[in-house]
Amino acid sequence: MSLRFGADVGGTFTDVVCLRDGQLFRGKADTTHYDLKVGFFNAATIASERAGIPLEEALTAAEAIVYSTTVGTNALIERRGTRLGLITTKGFEHTVKVGRARNWGDGLPTESKYDRGRAMRPEPLIDQRLVVGVQERIDNLGEVVIGLRDEDVLEKVQYLVDRGVRGIVVVTLNSFINPVHEKRIGAIIGEHYPECFLGHLPVYLSHEISPKAGEYRRSMTVIIDAYLREVTEGHLLRLGDDVRQRGYRRPLFVAKNTGGLSSLSRSQALHLLGSSPSATVIGADHIGQAIGVSNIIVSDMGGTSFDVGLVVEGRERVYEMDPVIDRFRVQIPYVAHWSIGAGGGSIARVLDGQLKVGPDSAGSNPGPACYDRGGTQPTVTDADVVLGYIDPQHFLGGKVALNAVRSIAALDEHVARPLGITVEEAAWQVKLLVDGIMGQEMYRICSLTSGQDPRDFVLFAMGGAGAVHAAGYAEGADVSRVATFPFSSVFGAFSTLALDILQTYERTYKLTLFHGSSQRYLTDELASFNATVAEMAAFARRDMSEEGFDLDTTGLVVDVSMCYGQQRKILPIRLDGFRIDGADGVRRVCDRFNKAYAAQFGEGATYPQAGIEANEIRLSAVGPVAKFAPSAKGNAGVTVVSALRGSRRAFWGPGFGNVDTPVYERDALPVEATIDGPVLCDAEDTVIVVPPGWSYHTDRFGFGWIERTARGAA
């Protein structure tokens, strides 16, 4: 028997997927914030029972449990991390507090970034009184301009210890080029506070965790990692103990925001933040490969937010190299995903005569007006109810009854009357606006991040509200095909099982490859460059060996980030192997860079006369694991007609008005069937809304495709 568990602990639900002998079984339970393990075991019990095997037996047989958790995210939001001290270069003690003078806007929506009159910096993770400077300075070439004094370090460490810090982060300027001072500070602390004594202080040296240029980003990378280590580690160790007590025999694996997984002993706390949406992108990539699509916009529309990710040309994922986590900019290769403040709970209102939707949300409590839990503001879900897309008696498979009268009243009071239109028109405008904004945000993300044309992409619609609005936001995104999946409500958990073991190693490495004024390819420093790559590969070998892989079974790739002379924009260029050899090798890499640059910015923008530089090396080590493969399904006597459950009156815009729209049961439809819109397909977890001008098609795997047949018909 082959058996793996994937788990995704979210804010509302904990999802577990059990992959048994190639078949998926879902489990969903409430997230138990008082102890996240409880929710996990509840969901895992449901999934394993659906797989026909008791939980203990399943755990004993399991080859892996892959876990994606928000424990770090919650601790960060609530500022519940470890009390840390920071030692940095004297004169630069405000680097973290000031955050490049832009950190008051980092992580905020555009309108807030432009509102500098109300600018406020985020609450810091380290009290400014626990930031100390030591006299030292190393320049960008690694030369020691001011040496470090041991007594200065000792005095500052003692100051921090006296104030009760539980860990010390050390970030000195240019340590990524020359770490001698950071190492010495680490050694001094180690000498005076050795591990054998109680109260030993963990020390986090920035060059070890993030050997990259940019003292603010490097500081925040190390600080967040150190800040969350204790709380994350504690939770995962306890979970590991519990699953082992119930029979599990393998390491606990965690999903990482870098797009892979690793065992707990090879993971950093920072990499666990946002791991679920990152995993979702990889899961979409995996499914995409199985069904033959390589460019995917991944969308997940829930109650309060709308998450978007991209898969570009198969496995070439889109990374953010300096993402914002919470309100802080860090430097890790983060599988890019973006959150937009729009969801089923987004509140509609009229301001200055103009309709606005979101970004504030009614959440799940009180929730939309139709939830009948005290909410009086109209939301996107209320508009969906009024438009007839959601059946109030059949919401979430009939588990929750909605009050349509309250939806009508809320929309009437807050939108229809202020705008002087009917309630239906008001609901329609809410839908148009939220779909338009979401679609255009997707367009922006697609084009902004990777320079891609959204028309070359298909859209994957996840989340409870995803399939309801997918055709609408696809229009705004300029996409004509949307895929929906029967397991889309647990796609995050499913996606953890699509991850490979991954370790990534990065470091800043400055190297001129092409000299601008002499127009020569330079080879003088290649030996040093190749030695650095070899050293990184050795680290990869060590870590992958711990994960059970040797170099024969590990995929290693090296990307070099390159730019024209003194430029800040860098493009990653993949090496053929692990070395650059001779002038010919340099020329090949430079040619590849010029070509990539021209493709992205136009031929006229290329400027090799300025010289070509390498800035950064990234080595990724991938240990492949077995994954779910969708299989073709038979029809076993079902027909389109047999899946018809009746009709609902639904409003499809002023051009169509109210139409008696056929309603099908999604899971009863045959494969390879096509139905023209307008049509509604009800399911336990969502409604698939297919407007006029679109059709619904089920492929051989049973996946549903909403496809445009005529532009702008709705």
């Binding site: 630069f92 405000h94 000031v98 432009y114 960008n140 940019g214 430029q567 300025a610």
Partner: protein
């Protein structure tokens, strides 16, 4: 003498006099090659037929979605432009990208710098009017135009822009544009800013409007001319190429939108965005009490020398219109580059209006300023003639902005928009421009990212933010020292928030990032600098708050700084500590901020910041706990806590001693009452005082209010 002016409002007509011999509503120079002042002050161009047609079709939702889309396009362009450029100014956000109507009005911008939004459009109108049908020039798809002449509608010649027309089925439908502070211009001073320039001809390259590329490609002959005309042709060309890439991106995205939505829809929507901007601005104005609101500013230098000048500003607000009157201004300056233009003075006010007064209305565009009329007396310091040098125009125009913060706060306090009430963000400058070979062997000339870390003004309900950003931009980036080390020739030894360097108040102003640099090693380096407010502040305090302190240029020559540190001395490199402790060997030089190029040597130290914000409200109303926090964060010393805030600490616990604090504060209040004087007595005494005539050389013909015969009005009052 007095002349009739177009009626604006009853208040305006009653209380304002305009005079013959001055211009008020346009630049104070005539048409010249490549520059037409009539186009500059034109306002929005009339609706076109296609725009009108499109507007009829559009619903408000369509407009909102189009606004979102166009904003996304220019913001993407901004990010790309900042990433591809290598000029420090552009990398850190002193730039702008925009989409303009075919007739040249700015619709949406990715910023960057707000005042660029309202500039750099007259050039497009000039091309449309004079070049498009000229067979020797013409206008075609793929053309690339360049402009940097302040007289054609720009800021100063360091700010360089390019524009690309966008055609659809052979018709001009829009313009893509981008540019920013590139720096070096081939002026008499390396790095562009020439503080000793006396005419525009000392300031290097001036191009009013020139086609530099065709078929989306830059012309090699013109590139050679341009890169040969400046000291760092390498940077110049790299940045020009980044602009081409950026404009192409805007163009391609925009064309796709036309393809998707149709030309009527998009062009009509662009016009509607401008119309909506105007409508929003009028709505905001109607919500504010009518009245006349004033502020006056005194400036203390003229570039490289000290000298007093005066700039008053009066707002006349009635109904949904606002008039900005700048009158009684000191004359223009022929001894230095210390002159603004009408269009720049107007555009500078956008920084305040867009960020605060019209807070919440996005996108910021020309429509927002339609209900605002500008009367800037010229020729004067604020609206000068053509032949003068204008390099520091960006400093001069800020006088209007600082005044506007003050007058605007008075307007908004009793309105529903009190959240926008605050003391001005710092506009003090002592900005060094370093020039030399950096440690990686590249020639480098520019200022550093610390220019983007000025202190914010205190707000009516909270402190001003420290190191808030660049004065002209809503959200900018000060970068990181490790990148700066890689690009610049000098070496920063400190970059920190300084002590006792902000405006005190119930809510305090924000402190800037102070950068302390040393020259060391074998790398040659020279430095010029520019700025003002060396003795008199223009970072006003509001409603009783202290002003942000002045900050002159501070250099210490031939120090033993590195030797002392290497010998184990734990030096505090804050400005306050350096000046009060004087612990370094060497010559301490406090001087006018603007200075021409000087060579610097090993051990020389430069201390610079872009100033601190003013405070809000009475210092004695500040919560003692906030004073204690400032003390803990070393933003103030114990001396300031006691003497300014009247907060005493328990010597043992170092916590607030409440009883002693109350006693201290009572004593301060008593002293204040003893020093108080009736207004008439104060004014009578004040008018008897006069500064040294030497520093009044550029002040104007009469004191205290520069005025022409027949202009007489009381210094503190208005015409009845």
């Amino acid at each position: 003498m007095e002349r009739t002016v177009r009626r604006r409002s009853a208040l305006f007509d009653k209380h304002v006099r305009l005079f013959e011999g001055f211009v008020y509503e346009r630049d104070a120079y005539d048409k010249r090659p490549g520059c037409d002042p009539e186009l500059i002050c034109h306002g929005l161009e009339p609706f076109t037929e296609i725009e009108r047609r499109g507007m009829e079709r559009l619903t408000p939702i369509d407009v909102e979605l189009l606004t979102h889309k166009l904003s996304a396009i220019v913001e993407e362009a901004r990010d790309v432009y900042m990433s591809l450029s290598i000029s420090e100014g552009i990398i850190t956000g002193d730039m702008n990208c925009g989409l303009f109507t075919a007739s040249g009005d700015p619709v949406t911008v990715g910023t960057g710098i707000y005042f660029h939004t309202l500039l750099n459009n007259a050039q497009l109108k000039y091309i449309n009017k004079y070049y498009r049908d000229d067979p020797t020039v013409g206008l075609s798809d793929g053309d690339i135009y360049f402009f940097n002449d302040e007289l054609s509608g720009g800021v100063h010649c360091m700010d360089m822009f390019t524009a690309m027309p966008i055609f659809w089925n052979g018709e001009l439908v829009a313009w893509a544009e981008c540019g920013g502070h590139q720096g070096e211009t081939g002026s008499i001073t390396p790095g562009g800013f020439a503080p000793t320039a006396k005419s525009r001809y000392d300031e290097g390259l001036h191009i009013p409007c020139m086609r530099i590329g065709e078929n989306f490609v830059l012309r090699r002959d013109i590139l050679d001319f341009m890169t040969g005309a400046v000291r760092n042709g390498f940077v110049f060309e790299a940045d020009l190429r980044s602009r081409v890439a950026t404009m192409l991106l805007i163009r391609n995205r925009f064309l796709r939108e036309l393809e998707r939505k149709g030309v009527d829809y998009v062009l009509g929507g662009m016009r509607q965005i401008l119309v909506d901007g105007e409508r929003n601005a009028r709505t905001r104005l109607r919500e504010i009490n009518d009245g006349i609101f004033r502020s006056v500013l005194f400036n203390d230098d003229h570039g490289t020398f000290f000298g007093l000048t005066r700039v008053p500003l009066t707002l006349i607000k009635e109904g949904d219109e606002l008039a900005v009157l700048i009158q009684g201004v000191s004359p223009e300056c022929s001894s230095g580059p210390f002159n603004s233009s009408w269009h720049l003075t107007r555009a500078a006010t956008a920084v305040y209006l867009f960020s605060y007064f019209f807070r919440g209305y996005l996108p910021a565009n020309a429509g927002l300023l339609e209900p605002v009329s500008y009367y800037v007396e010229g020729p004067s310091l604020m609206n000068s003639s053509a032949e003068l040098a204008h390099g520091l125009a960006n400093q001069v125009c800020a006088f209007a902005t600082q005044n506007l913060y003050m007058a605007g706060a008075k307007m908004l306090y009793s309105s529903p928009h009190r959240t926008a009430v605050q003391a001005p963000q710092s506009r003090h400058y002592s900005l060094p421009i370093f020039a030399g070979v950096n440690r990686r062997g590249y020639l480098s000339m520019n200022y550093t990212g610390a220019a983007n870390a000025g202190g914010g003004g205190a707000r009516y309900d909270m402190d001003g933010e420290n190191a808030l950003g660049f004065y002209w931009g809503p959200w900018t980036d000060a970068g990181e020292i490790e990148e700066q080390d890689d690009r610049m020739p000098q070496l920063a030894l400190a970059r920190q928030l300084d002590t006792n360097f902000h405006g005190y108040g119930k809510y305090r102003g924000g402190t800037p990032l102070l950068e302390v640099s040393v020259f060391q090693g074998h790398h040659e380096c020279s430095m010029s600098s520019w700025g003002s407010c060396d003795k008199i502040t223009m970072n006003f305090g509001l409603f009783g708050g202290y002003a942000g302190p002045p900050n002159p240029r501070f250099v210490i020559r031939d120090t033993d700084l590195l030797e002392q540190i290497r010998a184990g001395k734990d030096l505090n490199l804050g400005q306050y500590a350096l000046l009060t402790e004087r612990g370094l060997k060497g010559e301490y030089i406090l001087s006018s901020s603007s200075k021409d190029t000087e060579v610097f040597h090993d051990g020389d130290v430069v201390v610079a910041s872009v100033g601190a914000g003013g405070g809000y409200g009475d210092v004695l109303d500040r919560e003692p706990a906030l004073v204690l926090r400032d003390l803990h964060e070393k933003l103030i010393t114990k001396d300031v806590a006691e003497k300014i805030y009247g907060v005493a600490l328990d010597p043992e616990t170092q916590l607030v001693d409440e009883a002693e604090t109350e006693r201290l504060r009572s004593a301060i209040r008593k002293t204040r009452l003893e020093l108080g004087r009736p207004f008439d007595a104060f004014i009578a005494d004040w008018l008897c005082q006069k500064p040294d005539p030497e520093i009044l050389e550029h002040y104007g013909a009469s004191y205290p209010e520069p005025q022409v015969p027949g202009y007489a009005k009381p210094f503190w009052g208005l015409y009845d």
